[in-house]
Amino acid sequence: MMMVIEIQIGDFDIESKRIGISERAGGGALVEFTGIVRGMEEGRLISALRYEAYQPMATNQIRRILNEVHALHPCIRATVLHRTGVVPVGQAAVYVGVEAVHRAEAFALASGFMDRLKQDVPIWKTEIIS
């Protein structure tokens, strides 16, 4: 499976790194997930989240998890982008794009990956209160 993994500080351009429909590698399904910072966390208004990552372990863990989930749900390509630093409310913090032959594998890989991201990738967020 082709992989693109980027963990970057600052307002990097997720939009320009999405898997475009015209750039497909032969698949018939493209599933995308974008995680956006909410304005409310556990009943409190926030203005942003600050993310930190343990690099390069975070990138290595993402690659490992993608390979493990790919073994169960074979796909063609996966792109994972995660911002670090301060991400204001309303902006994207994470993007996962998965291309597969059929939709079931693409949905399963995207969902399975996100579950594992939240358990096994050394990235943390801290709320910045309004």
Partner: protein, 87 residues
């Protein structure tokens, strides 16, 4: 040329572990391999504020989660990984 073997561990603290330790990283003396209990004894001796987090922290050894029974060797980079919250 310096051929002395390493005699320290490089510790990295993240998130709530950083807050409890009051620092981002440090070096601690270590001349012999340590098991997990031995490492925690050294950690808590230097940073007693970490005691309440011990059950919530996973340890890494050179950027990999430490396996059960794995030894930590002088020269290793060890990170304290509190519950993660990416995404």
């Amino acid at each position: 040329m310096n051929t002395e073997p390493p005699r320290t561990l490089h510790l990295l603290f993240f998130s709530i572990a950083r807050a409890a330790a009051g620092m981002e990283e440090t070096m601690i003396p270590c001349a012999e391999p340590l098991d997990e209990n031995g490492l925690w004894n050294k950690l808590l001796e230097a940073h007693p504020g970490l005691a309440g987090l011990r059950n919530r922290i996973r340890l890494t050894r050179n950027s990999e989660f430490a396996r059960s029974g794995e030894l930590f060797e002088p020269g290793d980079e060890i990170a304290l990984i509190p519950p993660v919250s990416g995404g």
